[in-house]
């Protein structure tokens, strides 16, 4: 047992670090919780950042070289992620594309689709979004009602998607539709790649609980999609979507990384604020700090176990979902301890005396973290049934025709 890089990993890390230093001037850097002043400007800067990193060989590290990647290992990708965080480079703008859409296109796309989309995705020339959830089908994704009807060489799409992160800046999306309502709900679905600039696509940003607008609702009114942009066979959409969802489980919290502000950020805040508190309040603040730190460390070291498994060539299984559950718990403890250390400023989104509001913003993220990427309840079902072997709930909706009423 050890926590050291292997010789190869150490050499790779050193190369990544020197590349990040070499290109530092062309990359966006942000402190944890810091917000850019101008959103549009930031978006361009983030696209440039990803392009620079891609050209340096630091994006899509574990993707095959025939798809524009580096044919590296998942462990190397993890090293790049660690070094990007260390260099204060924010989440890549195309993280949905890299984490979910791209792997789905790789797994189910035709050679022509690979050629057309993957290299541009890696360089953020096209930003991608994932058009899955609908107003009437979130956790029960296969109950979706957006339709695609075949007309010659095209499909005509009508319906509405929601909670679509990045749709307002995206160029393409992977779109799950119902193409055969006479079949059971999972069997009548088909996946497409859709051009987000096509006529009939309308994107409306949604404002979140915390006031920011990172996700959207997307309307499809007679949108024409060429059959060449179908991803997988008609009726195979659920199988294609499972590839996306599997990758999502790993991308969201599977690595044991902090969801929200890190425990190190909390430690820095606490070192400044705790000594200023009256003695009796210090006792309470230290309990909260200790509890948050223990939860964050437990989650971090559990992530190291999964990292060990993938660095030996294993694939992340359903137990990766546990990382998001534990990560959510830890993030809430960290966030709450942080906000409480602000004292009177905690009742403002941004305090009057110069606090930058990062802990309040962080607090405003947390309800969403427990919902995004598979709600924590759905993840508990996955762990309960696939890891612990508990029986599933009886369901009638899996076998009856979708339009027969058992939705």
């Amino acid at each position: 047992m050890d926590f050291d890089d292997t010789t190869d990993e150490a050499a790779y890390r050193a190369r990544v670090r020197s590349l990040l230093e070499e290109h530092a001037a062309d990359l966006v850097h942000l402190d944890a919780g810091e917000e850019a002043a101008d959103a549009a400007e930031q978006q361009q800067a983030l696209r440039r950042t990803q392009r620079v990193l891609a050209d340096a060989g630091l994006v899509g590290v574990s993707w095959a070289s025939e798809h524009g990647g580096q044919s590296g290992t998942l462990a190397q990708q993890a090293i790049v992620n660690q070094e990007l965080a260390r260099a204060r480079v924010p989440t890549l703008i195309n993280h949905i594309g890299l984490g979910m859409c791209g792997p789905t296109v790789v797994a189910h796309g035709t050679p022509a689709q690979h050629e057309r989309y993957l290299a541009r995705l890696l360089r953020a020339e096209d930003v991608w979004c994932q058009l899955f959830s609908e107003p009437g089908s979130g956790s029960d994704l296969a109950a979706l009602r957006t339709t695609a009807v075949r007309e010659g060489d095209e499909w005509v799409v009508n319906g509405q998607k929601v909670w679509t992160t990045l749709a307002h800046v995206a160029d393409h999306g992977i779109l799950l539709t119902r193409t055969d309502p006479d079949r059971p709900k999972h069997a009548g679905l088909t996946m497409f790649i859709v051009d987000m600039h096509a006529p009939g696509v309308t994107v409306r940003p949604l404002r979140q609980l915390g006031g920011q607008s990172d996700f959207n609702e997307v309307f499809f009114d007679d949108v024409h999609v060429p059959d060449g942009d179908r991803l997988g066979e008609p009726g195979e959409g659920w199988r294609v979507a499972l590839t996306t969802l599997l990758n999502e489980r790993v991308a969201v919290g599977g690595g044991g990384n902090d969801l929200g502000l890190s425990v190190e950020s909390l430690a820095a805040l606490a070192a400044e604020r705790v000594p200023q508190l009256p003695t009796d309040r210090q006792v309470l603040a230290r309990q909260a700090l200790g509890r948050a730190a223990v939860a964050a460390l437990a989650n971090r070291y559990t992530g190291y176990r999964r990292y060990t498994a993938i660095s030996k060539g294993g694939l992340p299984g359903p137990e990766a979902s546990a990382g998001k559950l534990a990560g959510t718990t830890a993030a809430k403890l960290v966030a709450d301890a942080g906000v409480r250390l602000l004292g009177d400023d905690a009742v403002f989104s941004r305090g009057p005396d110069g606090d930058d509001g990062r802990w309040q913003r962080n607090q405003g993220w947390l309800p969403g973290i427990a919902i995004a990427g598979g709600t924590n309840e759905v993840l508990r079902n996955i762990i309960g049934e696939r890891v612990l072997g508990l029986p599933p709930e009886p369901r009638e909706d899996k076998t009856a025709p979708f339009n027969g009423g058992s939705r």
């Binding site: 050890d2 230290r286 460390l297 437990a298 559990t302 709930e393």
Partner: protein, 326 residues
Amino acid sequence: MNFELDDDQRAAAAGAREFFAGSTSVADARRALEGGPVTPGRQALADVGFLGVTVPEDVGGAGSSVLDLAVVAEQAGAVLAGPSLVTAARAAVLLADQPDLLAALADGSTGYAVLDGPAPAIDAVGADSFLALEDGALVLGAGEVATGEPLDATRGLGSVRLTSRRVLVEDAAARWSRARDVALVVLAAEDLGAAGRAVQLGIGYAKERTAFGRQIGSYQAVKHALVDAWVGVEQLRSLVWWAAWAADAAPDELPLAAASAKAFAAETLERAAETCIQVHGGIGFTWEHDAHLYWRRAKVDRFLLGDEAEHLDTVAGLVLAGALST
């Protein structure tokens, strides 16, 4: 990075599981409450080599690591075995330069208990030699044990008044501190085993028992409670391994890791045991069922070697002093 057990450690875990299956049972923990012996008992643990895992080979031990001992301790905890390997681990550190005393630890001829002032000490019942820190010195002596009606008889808890003492080491504060941290790790490892087994008992029952026409484990209310308890166990496993590794390979990290593991263990075992009882329903609340024996272990262990509040405060102090900055 290689954060998992190696093949030898996995084999050791399997061997320990087999040994405990043949030498003790959870039912023995119930019998101990009714006046029966604590099993497998000191001599059996010595004979199989578990009291000497971290004792050097030249005095009869295995000369192995704290991590190796934690692997065995997890299996001991799973069946609520006694006496505790915590005492063996702690005494092995304290007696590091006392070959005769170490040999007597490893071969089981002396029963040690380690005292933290007047607090009830683990395995004081049945011990004949007591180790304590007095005025910065490590002392060894005989003592009188006062004990109450046990909540978990396998822990052998008693308060001890020393009736004789001889100084083993004059300036022993640092050694004492390390020994206590190692003890925290092994206690957390025993709790890991107990918590894991309690969750497995609950899972097994949730697959068998039917209500309203289906297995109760199919209901999300039951399923999610078991998942949360299981996630806690896996999180605890990571802290225990990290802390045990630190004890061997990174002594600077040991205080943070050991306090984290012990604090997390207290909460995790309690939740696991309480979930186990709740999933079982009425039968889980009976004397005959094993569930309460895990619950008893949880309710006792959370206070041993410092409660959760003490260890969270230790973690906070270390974090405020920069333990997380690299």
